[in-house]
């Protein structure tokens, strides 16, 4: 029987989405529904003098104006607990209390008949502020005597730690080459098509929250905790979610305040963020500074890396992950796919008066990749080696390979990946052509970036972060109905990953049926088995593993029943094509449905010792420390020296995520990730002005790449199954976003290098930056008419 795993099965969710039949939180209508709007701080840092709601309460349609004062005793501040040494926790009140710490922070919640009147009402709330000095840049936050953003967070350091491998100094002393670079990365974010949205409905002592969330169970835990409720009296329903990318993994102030409002008013209350609110307050990503030193031999072998990592974590630490995530994960991955055993890091997560920073596709690792890839390019240029050759000399070659930070790459073929990448982009020929064009004034360049993607973190790996919860397992509940339909309920969520399809494929293969016969459910904490949702590329390994286990139980039972029906021995039977039959003789078999019917409807005919029904719920713990996909990207760009425009002409990716469940879905993940990476490299920037006002509060100014800015991507698959995970899978949802910025930086540097322009070590590479470089280093190239 052809297996479904590995096939390009069309996505089961697409007919619903493509015909506008999806149900998002904003589509949910309830009797008596009220609408919320938030009064938000327009100061980056200020003492709150008072909130005057008298005029607002008189606005037609207004039901309530709720301030922090009114929530006192009703809700507890959100507080991410992190027990690692060097970490400092802080409170995040549901509504600003005492002072405000970033522009957009919710100060009061307004409830009205419609969103229109809610906004009228919010506009009538008067808030008094006494401005405090604003701390925006990392350097300002770390300066002596810098204003404290939180009393509890001394030196504005949420997190600070150092590690060092013995012998590293000697490696620097003995080095033939030492590369030193400072790299900077802007703030940018996920900007999902569907912004955040929630409906809170308090009814008969029970809270139901429809939430655009990647993590319904985790959200339930958080909401229960901050509202002082038992976890079992809270139900979270995350219906279709229009993109998550990380920021919908945390519990936000608005959600807690909204639930408190519903409890107070006894009516359901909806809040759908508008684009400005989303850009202002939904977790931002990135914004790091790395200062790296790398030691190397004359042959180009990197022997040691030392890095200082600084992250601008903004005004609060998101729950439940805390503020140590980006910088910590960056620091684990700086050495990339390269064999560098001597490593030292000094890591700081810094409080600033900007929106909180937290999980966004490729957490921390985008910057880690930029850092090591810039080191590689720099070294190649100094040693006059081809950039691919230099990397080849440093790649990890044998597996398992334990890194300097304790990660264990379990399988792969990195040199082969690089070879395939060179073929896919036509490295040698394109380089030669670009050089020729360069002599005629056309600036084209090639770039490369390689990364290993740590995914599906194992329980010990997560446990070492000492958070409130260790999300080290996930669940699958499989039930075969009497008609042979398999119903699979999972602890994951699905917001673009195609889990409704891939999980059906996995279950279908275990049961020998068509994936169309598998219905996949998730997202409702009342019906889905307990799980940690979808983030960190965990779901295929975690829920796929649990599905294999649950489906295996059901399969064994069905084989036993079929054996009885066929008067054969279970060992001689096989499943496939919707039948259970004697191996090699399809005719001597029974239909899958017939076995299902017997198990559910005819207990009298079941063999002794077989309990009726076909159901199993299983948990799966991913292997520690996780699974490790590799991705190698090459970009080909053209730079216009007159305008500074960078056009991505071609893009190639070699991805190895172990056994592939559905190549089309893997390719979709890569496409989307690369698009976000192109945004990060060239366009996207959450810009604050000197007073801490976010300037980019709409899609006029926050520039997401569109289909016009993203080239077709040539994707090559390599499959090195993981020996550790069930199914051989490795998570892979983030690699696209990780490698693309460094690959494009590398390509732009190659192109501009033709004019003698020193290489960039930052993103985004804006038209203005390009033009400044050309004007400074090669003014004659400016005016070439094209």
């Amino acid at each position: 029987m052809p297996r479904s795993v590995g096939a390009r099965v069309l996505r089961h969710e697409d007919p619903r989405f493509l015909t506008g039949q999806g149900t998002y939180v904003d589509d949910v209508q309830l009797p008596g529904l009220l609408h919320a709007a938030f009064v938000r701080s327009d100061h980056a840092h200020a003492t709150l003098l008072g909130v005057d709601a008298a005029e607002a309460r008189a606005v037609p349609g207004a039901h309530a104006v709720i301030t922090a004062e009114e929530l006192e005793g009703e809700v507890a501040p959100i507080r991410a607990l992190v027990g690692t040494p060097g970490y400092q926790e802080c409170d995040m009140p549901a509504l600003a209390t005492g002072k405000v710490r970033f522009v957009g922070e919710p100060v009061a919640l307004v409830v009205a008949d419609s969103r229109y009147s809610a906004e009228d009402c919010a506009a009538a709330v008067r808030v008094g502020y006494e401005p405090l000095p604003v701390v925006l840049e990392i350097a300002d936050a770390l300066a002596d005597g810098a204003p404290a953003i939180h009393e509890e967070v001394s030196d504005n350091l949420y997190n600070s730690f150092e590690t060092s491998t013995a012998g590293i100094e000697k490696a620097f002393e003995d080095a033939d080459e030492v590369v030193e670079l400072e790299l900077t990365q802007q703030r940018y974010g996920a900007a999902p098509l569907e912004g955040r949205a929630a409906i809170a409905h308090w009814e008969a002592g029970q809270l139901t929250v429809w939430l655009s969330s990647q993590v319904p169970h985790i959200a339930r835990t958080g909401l229960a905790k901050f509202l002082g409720l038992a976890e079992s009296s809270v139900r979270v329903i995350s219906p279709d979610v229009g993109g998550g990318f990380g920021p919908k993994c945390v519990v936000y102030q608005e959600e807690v305040a909204l639930a408190a409002a519903s409890r107070r008013l006894g009516r359901p209350v909806k809040w759908t963020s508008d684009r400005s609110e989303d850009l202002l307050t939904t977790i931002h990503g990135r914004e790091q500074i790395h200062r790296v030193r790398a030691a190397a031999t004359a042959e180009g072998r990197v022997t040691a890396v030392s890095v200082e990592i600084l992250a601008s974590n903004g005004a609060y630490a998101p729950w439940p992950f805390g503020a140590g995530l980006d910088s910590g994960m960056a620091s684990e991955n700086v050495c990339g796919p390269y064999d560098i055993q001597l490593y030292e890091r000094d890591v700081k997560a810094v409080a600033t008066n900007k929106a909180p920073m937290g999980p966004y596709r490729g957490v921390g690792r985008v910057m880690a990749c930029l850092t090591i890839e810039r080191v590689m390019d720099e070294l190649a240029s100094r040693l006059e080696l081809d950039r691919l050759e230099l990397r080849r000399r440093n790649l990890v070659e044998s597996f398992p390979y334990e890194t300097a930070t304790g990660l264990v790459f379990e399988s792969g073929d990195y040199p082969r990946s690089l070879e395939l990448l060179a073929e896919a982009i036509g490295w040698e020929q394109t380089s030669a052509e670009d050089e020729g064009l360069g002599r005629r004034g056309r600036l084209r360049g090639l770039g490369v970036a390689c990364a290993v993607e740590h995914s599906s973190y194992g329980p010990q790996s997560l446990g070492s972060r000492k958070m409130e919860m260790t999300f080290g397992y996930d669940s699958a509940a499989l039930r075969v109905e009497p008609d042979g339909t398999a119903r699979l309920a999972l602890g994951l969520h699905n917001h673009g990953q195609g889990h409704q399809t891939t999980m059906a494929q996995i279950a279908a293969d275990e049961l020998g049926i068509d994936p169309a016969k598998v219905e996949v459910a998730y997202g409702d904490t009342d019906s889905a088995p307990y799980g940690a949702g979808t983030w960190a590329s965990r779901s295929t390994v975690y829920c796929g593993g649990a599905t294999v286990l649950a489906a295996g139980d059901v399969r064994e039972k069905m084989l036993a029943i079929a054996a009885d029906m066929l008067e054969a021995s279970a060992e001689d039977l096989e499943l496939g094509g919707g039948r259970i039959s004697v191996r090699g003789s399809r005719a001597r078999g029974v239909d899958f449905e017939a076995v299902a019917r017997r198990a559910c409807h005819q207990p009298d005919l079941l063999p002794d010792g077989i309990e009726p029904g076909l159901e199993s719920t299983r948990r799966y713990e991913a292997p520690d420390p996780g699974s490790f996909s590799s991705a190698m990207h090459a970009a080909h760009v053209e730079v216009d020296p007159g305008t500074g425009e960078v056009t991505v002409l071609d893009y190639a990716v070699v991805e190895d995520c172990g056994t592939i469940v559905n190549p089309m879905i893997v390719e979709g993940q890569i496409q989307g990730g690369v698009a976000q990476g192109i945004g990060g490299a060239l366009l996207e920037h959450l810009v604050y002005d000197e007073r801490g006002q976010l300037v980019t509060t709409s899609f006029i100014d926050y520039l997401l790449p569109t289909a016009m800015e993203v080239p077709a991507i040539d994707i090559v698959h390599l499959e090195s199954p993981s020996p550790n995970t069930l199914g051989g899978w490795k998570g892979m949802g983030e690699g696209g976003a990780i490698n693309a910025p460094p690959a494009i930086v590398s390509a732009v540097n190659d192109a501009l290098g033709r004019l003698g322009i020193p290489p960039a070590s930052h993103t985004p590479l804006t038209p203005e930056w390009v033009v400044e470089q050309v004007r400074a280093h090669a003014p004659e190239a400016r005016m070439e008419a094209r």
Binding site: R442, T706, M708, E709, P767, E768, V771, A785
Partner: protein
């Protein structure tokens, strides 16, 4: 992002619309394609008490040639003009300018009159109409008048239209023989408002020298501006690299664009020079009937 309360009117005749305008004056706002106005309402940057919807006024739509001149009804959709063979053949500068306006979906709603009346200095059509020395036809309950495009724009989002006046159409004179056109701009993404651009019309004499030049700049000032010094520098000259460079330098001599996060004033000024160079070169090529060069990345939707 919801507008404050307003009253909505949807007149069926121009006369009715004019009466409503006369009645509400400063408190009334005309709604054409809504592609600029509705965002302003939702951001509460505009708070009119009355919206007067022009979408039922069929008499304001359509593209015709009358006595050689182009007549465009104010409510003509941008996409209609984009696909007009009459325009493409005789006023190709307009067709080229439209290819840079926003995205197809927006051009399906956005109108020619709305774009002109909105007076965004980064909008393409006002710049193209400036290069073409167009006129706008305006009516109120009081009177009817024609305004030269050079007298229309006052500053960013402001025109010389009175609060009770309706822009009913735009007139463009025929373009002389041996004229080459070019509309060139640079935006950070395809379809965004440009950081800078230029519209150029060059008419050559039989010897190939420049007989007449029109150069209008996009994003160079709070309104579309004509680079008259640069135009004069070209007239009578053979269009070579040197002449182009001199004209481009002259074009930006007096401009001071406003900078923002996408490009400083300095960057934009310099960009205008690059755009003028490229536009003159392209218009010259076209005037001479030379083939179009292979474009490196100019994908246009």
């Amino acid at each position: 992002m919801k507008p404050p309360v307003f009253d909505y009117h949807d007149p069926e005749t121009v006369e009715e619309a004019l009466d409503l305008l006369a009645e509400h004056g400063d408190e009334g706002k005309l709604l054409a394609g809504g592609q600029s106005l509705v965002p302003l309402l939702n951001f509460r940057l505009a708070r009119p008490e009355n919206l007067i919807d022009l979408n039922r006024l069929g008499s304001l739509t359509g593209i015709r040639r009358e006595h050689g001149s182009l007549q465009i009804g104010a409510m003509t959709r941008q996409s209609t003009m984009e696909h007009s063979a009459l325009v493409a053949e005789n006023w190709p500068l307009l067709t080229e300018a439209l290819s840079y306006v926003a995205h197809a979906q927006i051009r399906n709603r956005g109108t020619i009159g709305g774009s002109v009346a909105h007076a965004d200095p980064a909008a393409e059509l006002p710049v193209a109409f400036s290069a073409l020395d167009s006129r706008v036809r305006v009516r109120s309950a009081r009177a009817e008048r024609t305004i030269e495009i050079s007298d229309l724009f006052v500053t960013h989002l402001t025109t010389t239209l009175e609060p009770d006046e309706l822009l009913v159409g735009i007139e463009v004179d025929p373009v002389p023989e041996r004229t080459g056109h070019a509309f060139v701009e640079f935006a950070r993404r395809h379809g965004d408002f440009a950081l800078g651009g230029a519209a150029v019309l060059l008419t050559l004499d039989s010897s190939g020298s420049c007989e007449r030049a029109a150069i209008a700049l996009l994003g160079a000032a709070p309104i579309p501006v004509r680079a008259t010094d640069a135009e004069q520098a070209l007239v009578g000259a053979a269009i070579d690299e040197k002449a182009i460079a001199a004209a481009a330098d002259a074009a930006i001599a007096d401009i001071s664009p406003t900078g923002d996060i996408h490009g400083s004033a300095e960057y934009r000024r310099d960009l205008c020079r690059v755009m003028v160079r490229r536009a003159i070169a392209a218009a010259n090529r076209r005037a001479k009937g030379e083939p179009e060069p292979e474009s490196s990345n100019g994908v246009i939707d």
